[in-house]
Symmetry: C2
Subunit: 232 residues, 2 copies
């Protein structure tokens, strides 16, 4: 491959799949009495603090599936769902395996795959990412996860680990993400970066600022646009 | 999925790809004066002893790419290739990333993928397995490797690790391999097993015994035959 960035690694939650819309869909179907928008936002809001408990050492190494469950159990009483059975909680927690891709994702990835090696680079665990890809038709070449490196982004071990896996210098790896902080951490490790606009990440009621940061190598409207910009 | 073994994990070298034929092809093209058959066999013969040095703790954790290189460097003088440059050695060592699939592999895997989650479960490192799959068109859902578990087959940590990744009991995972010892170790961990006949694994001059072992759940001529037996 002649491209200067043969390896593309992707943030997943929010960048490739629509966690907010997918959780709203499942919660509305299962528990119509619940404010599904608030529920989705509260669940996701617990994500960074939960990972921080792992990063700080307060919790030992814990997979995202288990962190999601920990947050969920804390959340249910406030939404009138304290009565949910163990089986119901397990099913609801697996919604993170059933997230829908953004409408451009499969087409964009399929085009990018013709000229690049495509890997996930997510804090999600390997099983979650594989089940999600299988259901959604995401054509990854390789599932990379914090689980492989036993460190959560933005730990440099994750970004540098991806370059190490392929035995290439960091600048031959590009992180594709909808989050400027993730991209900044990757850049600090020497990776190239591509920002993807996802104004609806938090739902139509909470439009996200998607202003360009000139520090990124690329800025794209979506994954089809990125493929076009990269000549795929 | 209704299958009792939703997850299929595959041995790679010899089972899915033809290491002997691929190395012979490259060595004949690069160094026609060398006995390519003997070279391929000698390289592969160094594989188990090299992994044993890791298992025993004599070597720290070492990727297969580096073990292949260690064996290669020891091999070259005996084949009149002591003069090879560093770049030539690196290129030759990467032949393990360029192994050709057996003729049935892509079709068989493509059919199996319609009803199962397909993962590599190889001692090969993640980068090697990903590059190989990309070149050969092997449609994995997930690249699992000894590198993820930091243990080499037949360590139980590898077989049980695969079940753990998908949060399923071991019997819901099936190892597909052309080696009875690999399958026996998987069975001892509770996995289902499928033996694949690869009589030409060591080349046409060294036909391998491919007798069935009734302890395996399935016995198949090749991966297309396995797909047919599994109703895919």
């Amino acid at each position: 491959m002649n491209s200067p960035t043969p390896i593309l690694v992707f943030d997943i939650f929010g960048t490739v799949v629509d966690w907010h819309g997918s959780i709203v869909r499942d919660v509305q179907a299962l528990y119509p009495q619940v404010d599904a928008d608030a529920f989705a936002l509260a669940w996701r809001a617990g994500y960074q603090p939960a990972m921080q408990r792992v990063r700080s050492g307060e919790l030992g190494w814990t997979l995202i599936d288990d962190l999601h469950r920990l947050i969920l159990d804390g959340l249910l009483p406030g939404f009138g769902l304290a009565h949910l059975s163990e089986a119901e909680r397990q099913h609801l927690n697996r919604v993170w395996h059933r997230l829908n891709p953004w409408p451009d994702a499969v087409q964009g990835l399929t085009r990018l795959k013709t000229r690049h090696t495509l890997c996930t680079l997510s804090n999600g665990n390997i099983g979650l990412l594989t089940n999600m890809a299988k259901r959604a038709g995401l054509p990854w070449d390789c599932i990379l996860s914090a689980e492989v490196f036993r460190a959560y982004k933005p730990d440099p071990a994750v970004y540098l680990g991806a370059a190490n896996i392929f035995d290439v210098p960091p600048e031959q790896v590009m992180l594709v993400a909808a989050h400027q902080d993730d991209l900044a951490a990757a850049r600090a490790c020497g990776l190239s970066t591509a920002y993807i606009e996802r104004p609806l990440e938090f739902g139509a009621g909470h439009i996200k600022d998607v202003s360009p940061d000139p520090a990124n190598t690329w800025h794209a409207r979506d994954l089809v646009d990125l493929a076009a910009q990269l000549g795929c």
